[in-house]
Every structure is written in C-alpha cells, then in structure tokens.
Symmetry: C2
Subunit: 482 residues, 2 copies
C-alpha cells in the first residue's frame, strides 16, 4: 500500500483526496470552494469531452457559446428556476469601475439566457429543431466543497434544444440520456442505471428529469448525468414561439442535458485502489509508460533510451495519438519511477532493462491486476492493443459485479431501513414505490439519507408500494448519494 494514500476500505473520503493529490489531478484554488484542474486531470477531461462531443455531433448537435453573465431579471422569469438556483448564485455588482444598474449573476446553468436568444432565432417551424450544445464552466456557490464532486465552479457541457412538438422534445430527452449511458459504459467503464427522477429530485423548471446513476466504491450513488424535458416552461417564460405549418402561433418544447467534471470523481471512486488512480484506457491521457532502466548512464543514452523512444513511436503510430510516453526520471530508483505511473493510473507499464534489451523483449505490467508478461518486441504493438481492450473490459466488468453484489431487492419499509442501517453495508436497494414527496422524505429520515436515485427505464417490474401498499408501483432505486 502506498504511504501517501489512506486505505480505501477504512477511510474512503480521505483515500479519495489522497488519490487525487498523488495523481496530481486537481488542487483547491485560492478562491473558496473552487478547484484548479491540473494537466493530469485536464487530460482526462479532454478525452471525456472528445467522446461526448463526437456523440453529440453524430446525433446532429452543434456547439455554440453564450455569455457567462446573466441579467438577474432573467433568472426570475421562471419561478421554480430562480427558487432552485438563486441561493447558489455569484453576483456581479460592479464592472468597468462603475456600479451596474442591474446586477448580473454568473451562469449557474444557461436555460434563461439561451431561452432569450432562441426567442429571437425562432419564428417559423422551419427554424426548428435547434440542437445546440455548449462547453463551459458554471458557478454554483458551495458550502461544503469536494474536489470534482462539489465545487463552486466546475466544467461541464449543457445541451439546449427546442422543438416544434412535445413528442419530438421527449424523444430528444431520451436520445441524450441514451448517449450518456452509452459513453459512460463504453468509454468511462461506468456501468450506470438510467431512469426517471422523482418529483423531489427534478431540475428546477423541468417537467421531468432523467439521470444516469453509478455506484461508487463506498456503495453510495453518484448522479453522473441528467437529461431534462422542460415542457413549455422556459418557452413561455422567454417567449420562444413559432408559426406552425398551419400558420398558428405555438410555444416551442425544450430540453436540456448535462455532464460535468464530476465524471472524473466518478471514475476515481469506481476504479481506483490503494495504490492510487486506475484509469479506463479509453480516457487515459497516457496509455503506456515506457521505462528504460540501467545503472549505466552511457548505456541509457546510447542504447536503452533510443530503444524506448522507438517502442513509444511504434505504439503511437499503431494506436493513434500521443498515448505512449517514455519515462526519463533517471534520478529516481526504478521502483519509484514505476510508482509515479502507478499512482497516475497509466494503464500499462513497459519496462525495458538490460536483459530485456538483449533478448529484444520488454516486461509489460497492467495497472488493474498487476499481472506481468514478457513480450517480444515483434508482437508488442498487437499485445498492447489487446491488453488495453482487456483492461477496459475488466474495469467495466469489475465495477458491474461490485454494483450487482451490492444491490438488493427490498419489499418493505422496514427492510429498507435495515438495508441502510449504520452497521449494514448499504448499497442500492430496489423497491417498488408509488408514494408522495412526503413518503420520500420519510424514507430519507428513517434511512439516514437514502433517496430515490431513479426509476430505471429498463426495469418493467411492478409491485406493491413499500410505503402506501398501492399495487402496480414502479421499481425505484434507493441509495445514499453524493
């Protein structure tokens, strides 16, 4: 076990911070609750962005940029929206050396200002749908910050679409939920449940909210992404209206959906171990570290480092992009050099010592299982490609098995209470539920914080509600959550 990292089992929350620090992913900023995303963390974010951005474009979306500042009066136009966000807003009162006539808030989310622009861009049904996404940062003032999970500023994308019909907007809401769960599964190796949120957990101003929910290593849930059907609420508030094919004026139907740097927190808490960060190969900035080792400086310079450079070049050409890096930390002992890559979550370590060099082979070590293989140089590229795919699959399978092991069906309020009791392991509880918001609050009280994470869309099970006893209640997932 690494000395600079607390035990995951005994102190999960300290372990989480230690992993981030050891991997140099992020630091707290000198501004309350804000973070600095360091290059190792930002490289992960770039890969996450590129996977999602490609999928957004494949589904017909385009990117745009809306202003950071929003007039305070805009926030107030949608009653639930302002109620939900006003307490978290940062407010600009002065600019250019003068007090502003009307204060601006820094966007906590952009439905309002985007709604205002859409009202100008939409006149006819021919102007619809509008399918726009924005990559930016948002500010929501946070009293109890936690790196990547809750910070006063975070990076995200927010999709905002407007449609001519209710059906089309609902289809879009589901389409993006599907894109989210697919990228999370395939690229981030996060097995996520996806489903509808209860009324209590809806986005302020939405008719319906859907989310992807992942189980973290401490068996708590993390909401990994949300997709909102906004009905005509924002269209009415900002007058996004259009002439339909029959020449009648109608309000548009809108959606919004987002994922954030929170996903980096999800990756850490799902895959990492007591040695530090473990990254799914598809989103790892460096996929393989090539490490030339010799005590003889001349040999390093003349033979081993050039050989390592050749190996890295071969891998980069085969695998595309800069994904293999040569380690040149010769002032450190080999074990310490290995350790830096281990702690940064590099999926594959390739050791090239004197003996390997002589035998035209390398030692390949995988980060997820620590298995070692001697691999001849001639087959290295193919070996690494297959190994990366295998690590990706293994991380997903391991996370899914962990989630399944920690998910239980529960058929009464009492059982649910026991499942979340202090001395029990907890996890995800599946239970049928058709109660009210009050019933949800009751459950939160008796379980010490468990809430409905979502009602999975792919679970057709219906049964007796654990609170009201009503028949045909939908299946819900209860968990304590980040």
């Amino acid at each position: 076990m690494a000395k600079n990292i607390a035990s995951r089992e005994s102190n999960f929350s300290q372990w989480y911070l230690d992993v981030i620090k050891a991997a140099q992913l992020a630091d707290y900023a000198p501004v309350r609750g804000c973070m600095v995303v360091r290059p190792n963390g930002y490289g992960i974010w770039e890969n996450i962005q590129s996977a999602f951005d490609r999928a957004f474009k494949e589904t017909g979306h385009v990117n745009a940029y809306f202003p950071l500042l929003i007039p305070n009066s805009f926030m107030e136009r949608e009653a639930q929206h302002v109620e939900g966000f006003a307490p978290e807003c940062a407010v600009v009162t002065h600019a250019g050396g003068e007090e502003l006539e009307e204060p601006y808030v820094i966007r906590p989310t952009s439905e309002t200002v985007i709604g205002h622009m859409y009202s100008q861009w939409v006149q006819s049904w021919r102007d619809l749908p509008i399918l726009i996404n924005q990559w930016c940062s948002v500010v929501r003032w946070e009293k109890r910050p936690r790196l990547f999970l809750r910070t006063s500023e975070f990076l995200w994308q927010e999709g905002h679409t407007a449609h001519a019909t209710r059906e089309e907007a609902i289809a879009e809401t589901f389409r993006m939920l599907d894109v989210y769960q697919r990228i999370m599964n395939d690229h981030l190796a996060l097995p996520v449940l996806y489903g509808e949120k209860s009324e209590n957990e809806r986005f302020p101003g939405a008719d319906n909210t859907y989310s992807c929910e992942a189980m973290m290593g401490d068996r708590k849930a993390l909401q990994a992404g949300t997709s909102h059907f906004l009905g005509q609420n924002f269209a009415r508030a900002f007058d996004i209206s259009f002439q339909n094919r029959n020449g009648e004026t109608e309000f548009a139907w809108t959606t919004s959906w987002g994922v954030s740097t929170r996903l980096i927190g999800a990756i850490i808490m799902t895959h990492s171990d007591d040695d530090g960060l473990v990254l799914p190969p598809r989103i790892a900035p460096v996929k393989a570290a090539v490490i030339p080792i010799s005590k003889d400086e001349d040999r390093i310079r003349d033979a081993l480092e050039p050989a390592a450079d050749g190996i890295a070049r071969g891998l980069n050409e085969t695998l595309g992009g800069v994904c293999a890096q040569v380690d040149r930390q010769y002032h450190m002992r080999p074990a310490d050099r290995f350790f830096t890559h281990l702690q940064r979550g590099v999926p594959i370590r390739i050791e090239l010592g004197e003996r390997e060099h002589e035998e035209r082979a390398v030692t390949v070590v995988r980060r997820d299982t620590a298995e070692r293989d001697r691999v001849p140089l001639g087959s290295l590229n193919d070996h690494v490609r297959a190994l990366l795919a295998d690590i990706q699959r293994n991380l997903y399978d391991r996370a899914k098995a962990f989630r399944d092991d920690n998910t239980r069906e529960v058929s009464s309020r009492t059982e649910l209470k026991e499942f979340f009791a202090k001395d029990s392991r907890g996890g995800f509880a599946k239970a049928c539920f058709a109660g009210s918001s009050d019933d949800e609050r009751d459950i939160k009280d008796i379980t010490g914080g468990a809430t409905i994470r979502c009602m999975p869309l792919d679970d057709e099970t219906r049964g007796k509600c654990i609170c009201t006893g009503a028949p045909d209640a939908r299946r819900a997932i209860f968990a304590k959550a980040y």
Copy 2:
C-alpha cells in the same frame, strides 16, 4: 451585390456587421458588450482551436483549468498589472446569498492566479519548465463593443510557462510567436508581420511584448496574437522560486501568450467580400455544399437527393471529417439556396441538377472567384481536394498582395503624416524609429491615431529615426489599428 450587406468599399464597418449577421456568426447578448457565438461562428472557432491546440501539444504544452474568479488582492500584487486591468474588471461582491469578505474579479487574464499555483508546484529546478495552456473566456469591460473585436467577454487561450533561466523563457516567448505566425499563415490564410512592441504597447507587467499584426480590408492593422516575456515580475510578486542545481534559491522566469476569438474578426475583415463571408478552407466548418436541384419532388426523393448523399459521403471519406453537407432547402428557389452558402462562406458549392445527373457530372463553383467547372463524378474527390488547396493558397496570396500594395516606406515625420492624412488611403508605413514614448504619442497625434504596431523581427533594416534623426534606428511598422 447582396441586398442585406452594405458595400465594403463605402461603409466598411457596417459591411463587417452585415457579413456577421448574414452568416449567422454571432449576435449581441442581452448583457452589455457581450456576444453570443452562434454555431456557424463557433464551428470556425473549433477549427482555429484545433489547429493551435495541436501545435501547442507538439511543442510540449499541456492544458489545464484555473478558476474564473481571482481574489482582488492578487491583482494588486503586480503594480503595472493592476493599473492596466483594474479599470476593465467585473467584480463579484456577493455569492451564496452573502456578501463576500473580499471581492473577486472575473479573470481578465490569469497571470496572477496561475502565478500563485506555480509557487506551490515549483520547488526544485526539476519541476521546471512548466508549460501550461488554458482555453477559457475572460472578461474585460468594454465601453465601445464590436463583435469579435472588442467584447466584454471573449474566448481565448492563454499559455503560461515558467522556466529556470532567462534564456529559456525568452526562447519560449519566440517559439510561441513563431507557432502563432505559422498557424495564422497556414490555416487562417492571414499573412502576418511579427515583431516587438514598443514600450507604450506592452502587456501590463511584461518586460517585453511581441505580436503578430495583420492588415484588414480597410488597411487598418489588427493585433492577432501576443507573446510576452514577463521576466521575473510575476515570479517575484507570487514567489515562484526554486532551488537551482547548485542548491541556491532563485526566482523563475515566466512567459504568457494568447490568441482569441478576435481572430474570427480578422478572418472576416481579410477575406470576405460584398456577397458576405469568405472562409479559408482549412478553418471552414463546411467545406462543400452539395445541392440537388429539380422541380420534381419525386425525382429529388428518388434520384437526386440519394445521389447528393452519395457525393457528400464520398467527399467526407476522402477528405476526412464532416466537411461536405447536402442542402435540403427545397422550399427555396435554387438561387436563394446558393446564396445561403455563399453568405456563410462555404468554399465550394456543388450543384447537381437533372442534366448533371444524367451526364454523371456536377457543377462546381468556388466561393473566392465564382469560377464554375463541370466535373465528372469519377474525378470529383480529387478535384475538390485540389480546389480546396488552391482556394486556401489564393486567399493567402490575395491578402498578402493587398498588404504589400498598401505598405510604403516612409523616411520622415512629414511623409508619415501625409501617408495617414484624411484623404490618403493609409495602410502600413515602414519607418525607422528610435524615439521615446513621447515621440510615439506625437506621431499618434499628427497622424490621427497611427501607432507602432511592431518592430518586425525579420527586418534587419536600420536607418535614421524619423523623429530624432538618430542613426541605426530599427524599422517599425506604423498603422491605425483596431
């Protein structure tokens, strides 16, 4: 000439706004001086980003993200810096429902907060160099906003590096200036002069500032990018110190460099014409529009649209990325359909009518010269590839010829005054100069606003100063500027 676009020759500034509006590149936001970058504009920015980002990474830089908010006290630590930026800052005084103890400013640039973080990350010479870039938006309150050129918020990248020696930091300053001018030339088709700024025009807090300067269609200069050698000014202010190889403590040497969405303004004002936007193919989001044309709806559906889809697919496979798009605006007349692509600056229009379809050919029209060619389908992909390269080259050559035609050597203060007189054409004046800041101000006065844009690094000419008469004065470029 387009009815919705003013004449470039007779009203350049209205023409500029009309081109932006017709191409749907950007709108003013409901926040004073801020803009909304619409998808057509943002697509250009994405291509600009990707060209620069690749070059930054090839030169060893990595991306990171620093907070949007900066404690006011940080700004005050570097005297010139605060003097330069404080008047333009937007100030956050309240957050989370409370008044803040210390106000924050929204970053106008990030030297201060990044300097603070570097001081924590740097202990030893082994921690250097740090080569970090950030893509983000910045806020500088603007009294006279102008889309893309001067807005209260704009998108940019800011590189911030720290080095162990003065020489290394200076080399980095020049390296990035070189990257800038290369990408501007090769991708944006902007022939730029690059050189040193005079003291008057230096970045607040820099020892030296270098810039790339382009000539716009109205013969005024636009500063397209800057690279600053910051000496040890910020290292002292934020205590970025390290132990050198001899165990002595030293301050680091830092640089910063940036380009912004201003470049979109530069592209518009360099290449576009009275019909609207003209884009260099390398940064055009859509490189070719394929337009099936027939009065017969059945023929469109059964024959022409499928053929157009096939053509677009073929081009996308050959040219890489989504670059060809099929036009489906069948409710419009063909001429109007052509016009939408013309105004959006799509480099190549491919018309597929009944006769072309019969002959297994298309009509290819280039945006920059309006030349038309009948091209057999069999050779279309090669034709388009060659044509895109030719358009790219032509735009550069045309801009360079325009700049050269409007650049004159000037050998006295009087000649300079005449060159910029009200009834003269103006442009770039090359003159030897070794005067003081007062002399610069004098020239600004007598010319109605001309300033030293830069002292080109690749111009070895030395001569008599037009102000002081001193010999061996360096060559400077004088121009009125945006």
